[in-house]
């Protein structure tokens, strides 16, 4: 609809006006910079999915040198920290209910007898009819990450307890970690944060910027001037493309500087992918602005889109582990496609050809969004 009558002069006038207003709106201006910084610090430092140093309790009914050796060996894994010793299981359960500890290691009175018969302890690694586990973990299973970390202790070797050097068992599979060999969560989170933060700011800023003009009555005057809806929309969202790129630079810069997240791929490819995503988000904001009557409504609709963008896009939980239905919803969100692209480029040095499907999706989003917004926008004028 950007037909022959479109005037760059008018678009430019709207852009300049928008920039002036934005630069005078300290709050919004601050948010542009603070949102990515704060989120990055929060996610980078606070959120860690490798659980370590889980507070646990101990009930040791055998009180032998072997049981003490076992507790030491468990502590040495760094998965758990023994915070308290209880005299009975009953006390330990109460402590777990209160939340003092997340799990309890229970060593029965016949611990030493069990230990001696255990194949991992003895020199003859075959199980006899008398073999039993040497102790029991009682776990607060409500947090699955913690439960999984303790489950991993199930098959802990007992060589250390037996005062032997740890035997080298040959694994069935060898695992080689590509792209994030140290398995740091933050490396995966930073590219994901790009998508989450931009979803939030881009959609919210455009949606409210246009609704604000309606709410404050500016639109009533503008409609009677020769400005075209398309010119107004382009002029209003253009400054936010720059804002979006700025936020991407902040996130990647801090990610690199503070969290040593390397950028494996080319900045050029990343820039193109980011632009595609910014355009898709901005047009989504435009569509919202044609639905919402007030800025509050615009914010509510933004949250409605932001939540699945955080939960289903692969940012929080692996996309492949989600049920089919959730995956379909995820495909409908621009954030899903951008997270895929951003991770591929930042971590795996993928180029655009590897990512053409997602790039195409984002392009399609933008085109569809512009068409819907333009049609609906005309209605609000009429």
């Amino acid at each position: 609809m950007l037909n022959a009558g479109a005037s760059w002069g008018r678009i430019f006038a709207v852009i300049m006006k928008e920039i002036k207003q934005l630069s005078r709106d300290r709050m919004t201006f601050g948010m542009i910079i603070m949102i990515p910084l704060v989120q990055l610090m929060l996610f980078g430092y606070a959120i860690n999915t490798d659980a370590r140093h889980i507070p646990v309790g101990l009930v040791d009914l055998s009180q032998t040198s072997e049981s003490r050796a076992l507790v030491q060996a468990v502590t040495a894994t760094q998965s758990v920290d023994f915070h308290a010793v209880y005299t009975s299981l009953h006390d330990a359960e109460a402590a777990m209910t209160r939340g003092d500890v997340r799990a309890t290691l229970y060593l029965p009175p016949d611990f030493s007898a069990r230990l001696i018969q255990h194949p991992r302890y003895g020199t003859n690694p075959t199980a006899s009819a008398l073999t039993q586990p040497v102790g029991q973990w009682i776990v607060d299973g409500s947090d699955t990450v913690i439960a999984a970390a303790i489950k991993a202790l199930r098959t802990m070797p007992l060589d250390e307890v037996a005062n032997r050097t740890v035997s080298q068992t040959i694994p069935t599979f060898e695992v080689v970690q590509y792209f994030n060999p140290e398995q740091r969560t933050v490396v995966n989170i930073v590219p994901g944060l790009l998508a989450v933060i931009l979803t939030m700011t881009m959609i919210l800023f455009t949606a409210t910027a246009i609704v604000r003009e309606q709410e404050q009555g500016n639109m009533e005057f503008l409609i009677t001037t020769p400005i075209r809806p398309m010119e107004l929309m382009i002029g209003k969202i253009a400054p936010y493309v720059v804002v979006g790129m700025l936020q991407i630079m902040i996130i990647l810069g801090v990610g690199y500087g503070v969290f040593s997240v390397p950028i494996a791929g080319s900045l050029m490819v990343l820039g193109i992918a980011s632009l595609l995503f910014i355009f898709a988000s901005l047009t989504l904001g435009l569509v919202i602005s044609t639905i919402a009557k007030t800025q509050l409504q615009a914010m509510q609709i933004t949250v409605f889109i932001l939540l699945p963008s955080i939960l289903l896009s692969g940012f929080m939980f692996p996309y492949d582990a989600m049920p089919q239905g959730a995956q379909w919803i995820a495909e409908g969100l621009p954030a899903t496609h951008f997270i895929r692209m951003a991770r591929a480029i930042v971590l795996r040095d993928a180029d655009l050809l590897d990512l053409q499907a997602d790039a195409l999706w984002l392009g399609l989003f933008t085109v569809l969004g512009v068409i819907i917004a333009a049609r609906r926008f005309h209605k609000t004028l009429g």
Binding site: M16, K17, L222, G382
Partner: protein, 309 residues
Amino acid sequence: MSNAGKFAIEAQGLTKAFGEHIAVNELNFRIPKGCIYGFLGPNGCGKSTTIRLMTGLLTPTSGEITILGQTLAGHEEAIKQKLGYMTQKFSLYDSLTVLENLRFVAAIYGFTGTRRTQRIDELLHLYDLKNQAKQYAGSMSGGQKQRLALACATLHSPELLFLDEPTSAVDPENRREFWERLFDLCDAGTTILVSTHYMDEAERCHALAILEDGHLRADGSPAELMNAMPANVVEIGGEQLRQLKQALLQQSEVLSAAQIGAHLRVLVKKTQTDPLRFLALLCAGRPMQLARPSLEDVFVTCTGTRHDE
């Protein structure tokens, strides 16, 4: 079509319904070129809605509008270039300065370079905004805002200017000043349509239409309207006017009775050929005299529940 050159606005059967509610009901009027035309009516009578219909902001439910000889429907874009519109609520940007607002509007209307600078200078001077040029619009007084809004609405020298309650936040002194500017514009050939609920403002118009509840109750020049008023005005003096008022309102010939200072201003239907004798029978011994009708009397006569019985 012989009238095409004579009228700035012609409306025929103009109707706008919002759901069940009919905000504008079968309006017919013609506004001659070069005059100041008033829409007089109480809150919610449909003044703003009618103006929005004529500026193309709203699409009529039925009826037809011709603006400057051209049918509005289908020609909105071309007609927009010739219209200026000052909204009831301030519609410029609070966080931009006076100058920035003017520059923005100038750019929207395609003014560039020295033409733009000159025109803005002219307007700043004309509307006495030179000292406020660098001030944020949001921090200005009601009168200053209104002058800025008029400057923006007239920046492109429109042939037809719509002003929706332009002086509701303005003191009488500034209101006079504002009307001076309107007469200047009118002299320069601009047709102006202004909505108001102030009688003194309505009186300044060349012609006006009285609206009530979406209906057009009367139209014409103030003098015509006063002459054609179907009631006589009698002023009654004396004590205990409030009781008298209640008593008089019982009479179906009495359209209205309102206390004004030490008098009771009574409108008696013209069907009563001798209003003084009619009233003397009702309140013997009080001083009373016929008075010249005012626009307010016209307004009261043709609105309210008693007018069409």
